[in-house]
């Protein structure tokens, strides 16, 4: 087990290195001189030269990369051109809404998708199965902002049940916090539900045909215990895998959903930073999201050993 964790951790190193090089090049490949962008329109040539010196832009690219990586590893993401704060502060202040939205979405999606997928597989070929599959294709085809505006129009504007937009910090009361999270989480959950339900259905279908399920039924076990104990447990590995891979969709969806519902989170920050050409912030956010994605998939890989005792490394 331990050697496996070690090897798996080592395997993430090259991946993260590629991400780091890419994110670093992002600033280097920009059209124009970063120092001139930071200095602004009214800067003199000397100001620009000073900034260039300060940022180490005069040094060879490889040296710059080493300096940059060293800073990142110490948690120093530089200073935002646009927000006039350190990027680290900026990220911390935007973390809560994004975290709340993602966790809420994940719980909602798993709670909806797994039962849907199981029922679709169990009643294979029935109208339930066909509508679950149809809805899952639909879920892939609707962008988050279309779903978001449709839900907002129906539940917030026409029916007036929920607030239209905005975010309330958890510290300012749980009621308002959760009320404002319902619509965005639901919006974001739909594409995730589509993905997880599909894989759950395929996984359960495969296990349903297995010998041990026939044996369990033959010895008179009820359908529900069969599904729970003998089917779902064996179908868990692909389901957990897709939950991990789906995090990429979730992160992309966060960017869009936060814009639709005016939630001041990391996704909104990314868009604002790109619009303002605030490269240090863009770099930091892209890097952060990628690290989170890689880590979640690392955790997913490690849970396999608990889910399926046959998997030994």
């Amino acid at each position: 087990m331990l050697p496996y964790i070690g090897r798996r951790l080592l395997a993430t190193v090259p991946v993260m290195a590629v991400v780091a090089v890419f994110v670093f090049l992002l600033l280097r490949l920009t059209a124009g001189d970063p120092a001139a962008i930071i200095a602004g329109d009214n800067a003199t040539a000397r100001d620009v030269a000073e900034i260039r010196e300060k940022l180490g832009l005069n040094q060879p690219v490889v040296t710059q990369f080493v300096i940059w990586i060293g800073r990142i590893l110490r948690g120093d993401f530089g200073e935002s051109f646009f927000f006039k704060k350190t990027v680290a502060e900026l990220i911390v202040s935007r973390l809560e809404p994004t975290l709340a939205l993602s966790v809420c979405t994940m719980i909602l999606a798993v709670l909806m998708a797994v039962p849907l997928g199981v029922v679709a597989a169990w009643k294979r070929g029935s109208w339930i199965d066909r509508s679950v599959m149809g809805l899952s294709v639909l879920g892939f085809s609707l962008p988050a902002f279309v779903i978001g505006y449709a839900l907002m129009y129906l539940f917030a504007i026409e029916l007036g049940w929920l607030p239209v937009q905005g975010y309330q910090r958890l510290a300012d009361g749980f009621g308002g916090f959760i009320q404002r999270l319902i619509l965005p989480s639901f919006t974001l959950a739909i594409i995730y539900v589509a993905l997880i339900a599909r894989i759950t259905r395929a996984g359960v279908l495969e296990v349903l045909g297995a010998d041990h399920v026939r044996t369990a039924r033959a010895k008179g076990l009820g359908e529900l215990p069969v599904l729970r104990r003998h089917v779902l447990r064996n179908a868990a590995v692909p389901i957990v895998t897709v939950i991990g891979f789906g995090v990429a969709l979730l992160i992309g969806g966060v960017v869009v959903t936060e814009s639709v519902f005016s939630i001041p989170g990391l996704g909104r920050l990314t868009v604002d930073a790109v619009l303002a050409r605030d490269y240090p912030t863009v770099q930091a956010v892209v890097l952060l999201f990628s690290v989170v994605y890689v880590l979640i998939n690392l955790i997913v890989d490690l849970t396999y050993t608990f889910l399926d005792p046959r998997i030994r490394y």
């Binding site: 239209v164 395929a202 814009s259």
Partner: protein, 312 residues
């Protein structure tokens, strides 16, 4: 090998014979998903091609006296000689007085161009990289690490970051930005096909007979990748159309005066509560198009890959 029948005689299990092409063609009419998808797509393509003939006006024309009209609103211009010109805004106008109907119709062009070009280019690039890296071992490790790295940056973020590289994104920048996150997925697919095919006896035989690598790749490996690539290409197309709309909607894509579905929606955001039509109509077109492409892809996969069909 299945067991032995006496001395030296062995029964070899033979894989089920490949389906005859005629049988496959016979199944096509029964695959509703392909038909519905193709039909809807055909309509959208027709709309895009025939846009000027569909009663549209200049989609970029601003009319300050006719801003924020509801769908079906009319504008009457009385001329000095007593005659009248009546303009009907079928889908209303936006906050600059542009005709939403014309913008939605012309918007289909951008979506289709982006979808098709990203699909084609990513398939070609992915095919080349995948074939080479799947076949040449030492290159494989390097290429796949780079692909893994690219794939661990969420597609939307990667595209947004790439768009931000150039000042004033145009169509080509947006296509490039969407292309980069899609290529690794194609590479992985092609590589997995190559890895399984290269161990097949007929490939081994060709190599043993001294066929050069290039010939083995093009004559024996390449044909096996075509069916999965057609399916993957369709899904890439759908995802590219969605990504373009998302980029435009967020305001980081194609410049706002160009009519794209995402741009029309971005424009309609501010007044969404009062004038939802600016978001409604492009949404319907976008959803219908992406749904059609996805249905086509789903249907094609069922047709072309018998293994998946049995399972699902």
């Amino acid at each position: 090998m299945n067991g032995s029948l006496g001395a030296g005689l062995e029964v070899v299990t033979v894989a089920a014979p490949a389906e005859h092409p005629a049988a496959r063609a016979w199944r096509l009419p029964r695959n509703r998903s392909v038909w519905i998808g193709a039909a809807v797509l055909l309509v959208i393509v027709a709309i895009a091609v025939l846009a000027p003939a569909l009663g549209t006006s200049n989609p970029a024309e601003i009319e300050p006296t006719a801003r924020n009209r509801r769908p079906g609103a009319q504008r009457v211009i009385r001329h000095d000689d007593g005659s009248k010109t009546v303009t009907t805004y079928r889908m209303g106008t936006d906050s600059l007085g542009r005709d939403v109907y014309s913008r939605v119709i012309y918007g289909s062009r951008v979506s289709l161009v982006v979808g098709v070009s990203v699909a084609l280019v990513s398939v070609v690039i992915g095919l080349v990289i995948g074939l080479v890296s799947g076949y040449i071992r030492w290159l494989d490790a390097i290429v796949m690490r780079v692909m893994d790295g690219l794939m661990s940056i969420p597609a939307i973020l990667l595209a947004i970051a790439l768009v931000s590289l150039s000042r004033g994104a145009g169509l080509r920048t947006v296509i490039f930005a969407i292309l980069i996150p899609e290529v690794p997925r194609v590479v992985r697919l092609v590589r997995s096909v190559v890895l399984s095919v290269r161990e097949e006896p007929y490939v081994e035989a060709a190599r043993a007979l001294g066929a050069p690598t290039a010939a083995v790749l093009t004559r024996h490996v390449l044909p096996n990748t075509i069916a999965p690539l057609v399916v993957q290409g369709t899904f890439v197309c759908a995802s590219a159309i969605l990504l373009e709309a998302i980029l435009s909607f967020l305001g980081v894509g194609i410049p706002p005066e160009t009519p794209t579905w995402g741009n029309i929606m971005a424009e309609g955001r501010a007044l969404f509560r009062i004038f939802p039509h600016n978001i409604l109509f492009p949404s319907i077109f976008l959803a219908a198009t992406v749904l059609a492409v996805n249905m086509l892809g789903d249907g094609l996969r069922d047709l072309l890959d018998p293994r998946v069909r049995k399972q699902i």
